[in-house]
Amino acid sequence: MSQAFMQVEGLRKTYQVRRGLFGRPKPLHAVADVSFDVQPGTTFGLVGESGSGKSTIAKMLMLAESPTEGTIRIGDHAVTSMKKQDQARFHRELQPVLQDPYSSLNPRMRIGRIIDEPLRIHDVTEFGPHKQRVAELLALVGLPPEAAGRYAHELSGGQRQRVSIARSLALSPKCMILDEPVSALDVSIQAQILNLLKDLQARLQLTYLLISHDLAVVAYLSQRIGVLYLGEFMEIGNAEDVMSRPRHPYTQALIASVGARSGGASANLVQGEIPSPMNPPSGCLFNPRCPHATERCRQEKPVLRDFGNGQLAACHHAETITFRSFAADAAEAPATHRPRGTNL
């Protein structure tokens, strides 16, 4: 088993939130005990809805925030135990691409200077003169060389995102954190950027950590997928396994919610809304909304169990739940069941 490029162990981020002026601070567990590995040259996709903690994980991996607990290893180095100064070196290994193409570029700087800023900061000459490197990077992301003299407001959303990608690649990092890279783009442009990212990964042997709320996007690019809910993993596995044989009811709900819209068969409809992370449910985090929940789920929090082939799910009843895939026609008996109680 080759050494994983990125290893995350027991990552945790807790905020102390004070309610009101005199209230005692209450802990908010944005991320609770998250562990995963990413093999070099592959994409690990983190999928989750609001409150899942995926953005917080992204920030911690980008080293924009420090975890409350847990370790992150990138390459051979334990990043979390490094001093701030040494961490600065890791910005050369790992670069982010953020969601908003309009906020990611300084409106008063020319594109060429935006892209070569990392080179100027680190005074890097190993890629040749900066001008040449900028031209190379622009070609890599599919932009014409004239773009270097333009300003951000002259480019479209998709083009700006390409510039962001070019800047992230300036120092030739080994890994990119992609935080909702296409969510803010038009539908017809999303495919352009996704294909670009796929292409770059193959060409430059990049490792990606992809974060998105859109399961289809994650499934398109990732080899392994992790499903987050309220700061914890509900399921992790290879993309094929998670998409065709999901074990956790939440994953099933995500697939069915969207798959049903594309004409997929009946799904276990999830009731209610995502509870506030300040007031997580007892036992299994998903139990108030789960159509299969039992008393045990309310009392006892399930741990991630191995279902073979590297697929892990945190559910007491994963073996007994059958998920109807899209291909099967729905002919089961009509539901007699009750909404579990929504969280308001």
């Binding site: 017809s188 809304e273 099967a328 089961e332 007699t336």
Partner: protein, 363 residues
């Protein structure tokens, strides 16, 4: 039956005065929606889909005006009526649900007050107890649990999905004949989206409403709506029953969209991006507006705006190469086109069943 056409637009045109000049945000839009059916207006940002709805409702921004065309609501031309009459219509017969429920609800008033307002203004109900009773009734219709107790809560105390339900409640309270939904689920979490759509569908059935559903999400439209009109740069480029349009798309833009959107069913299928980007509305070409991005474009496409090509059932497409597209002889003239995967055949909307483990046949 012509009598159950609830909404009909004929060559609707809206112009906007912007910093870059006067643009035709909505250009000759003609559509119709019958009672009990839903029409999806699909397009990307800047295609004019939201502006079309605003134009039909008489809610244009200050820098816009209706330049041409008519809009008929139940046979009556609503572009010619006074703002007062329009306002009365909007509350009583037409509902509008917008994307961000937080801004559709007034943060300073309780839910009960806002729902009750509908009955107060349009039906003249003043008795407090009666208002509360009717409010609870309509909140229960949108499946808000423990509605009686929630009447005195404020919008900020509700989650996004709940607020959207309240917004829906306010709009369907008087059983309108037409409901306009502008991306009502885009801001919601995926697991909540389906609940809201299911609710809308049930309400539509119960009240036999016509629905106009604006969205950029093709799969969502396919699941929820009966008919579709695809918009690009202010014009409709293709329209018809949604199952047919997505099964056998004629316009290159529709084909491009279907191939560019990742789907959950075949998630590893390579996506074919549509090259380029939308033209600026201030600098539109004289010919087909999609031509710069089209792999199948001919010279005529650049020179002359395409005619309408229409065929049964109720299909129309604005493309010179419609015939080639339909009989399978459409071949790319430039650029690389991936081998055409069959466009996803979309099944009609299915009823979502709740199931318990063990019940029913295993997959």
């Amino acid at each position: 039956m012509a009598s159950d056409i609830i909404l009909q637009a004929k060559s609707l045109t809206t112009v906007l005065r912007t910093a870059s000049g006067v643009v035709r945000a909505v250009d000759n839009i003609s559509l119709e929606v019958k009672a009990g059916r839903s029409l999806a207006l699909v397009g990307e940002s800047g295609s004019g889909k939201s502006m079309t709805c605003m134009s039909m409702m008489g809610l244009l921004p200050g820098n816009g005006r209706l330049a041409a065309g008519e809009v008929f609501f139940k046979g009556r031309d609503i572009t010619k009526i006074s703002p007062r009459e329009m306002q009365a219509l909007r509350g009583r017969e037409i509902g509008m649900i917008l994307q961000d429920a937080m801004t559709s609800l007034n943060p300073l008033f309780t839910i009960g007050e806002q729902v009750g307002e509908v009955f107060k203004f349009h039906q003249g109900v003043t008795d407090k107890a009666e208002l509360r009773r009717r409010s609870v009734e309509v909140l229960e219709k949108v499946k808000i649990p423990a509605a009686e107790g929630r009447l005195d809560s404020y919008p900020f105390q509700f989650s996004g999905g709940m607020r959207q339900r309240v917004s829906i409640a306010i709009n369907i309270a008087l059983s309108p004949s037409l409901l306009i939904c502008d991306e009502p689920t885009t801001a919601l979490d995926v697991t909540v989206q389906l609940q809201i759509l299911k609710l809308l569908r049930e309400l539509q059935k119960a009240q036999n409403m016509a629905i106009v559903f604006v969205t950029h999400d093709l799969h969502l439209a396919a699941q929820f709506c009966d008919d579709v009109a695809i918009m690009y740069a202010g014009r409709i480029v293709e329209a018809g029953p949604i199952v047919d349009v997505f099964a056998r798309p004629a316009h290159p833009y529709t084909r491009g969209l279907l191939k560019a959107v990742p789907s959950l069913e075949s998630y590893k299928r390579p996506l074919t991006a549509i090259p380029g980007h939308q033209p600026s509305l201030a600098k539109l070409p004289p010919g087909c507006r999609f031509e710069p991005r089209c792999a199948y474009a001919l010279d005529v496409c650049r020179q002359q705006y395409p005619d309408w090509f229409e065929w049964e059932p109720a299909r129309r497409c604005a493309c010179w190469r419609t015939a080639d597209s339909l009989d399978g002889t459409l071949a790319p003239l430039h650029g690389v086109d991936q081998p055409a995967d069959a466009p996803q055949r979309v099944r009609p909307p299915v009823e979502i069943q709740l199931a318990r483990p063990g019940v029913g046949a295993a997959a």
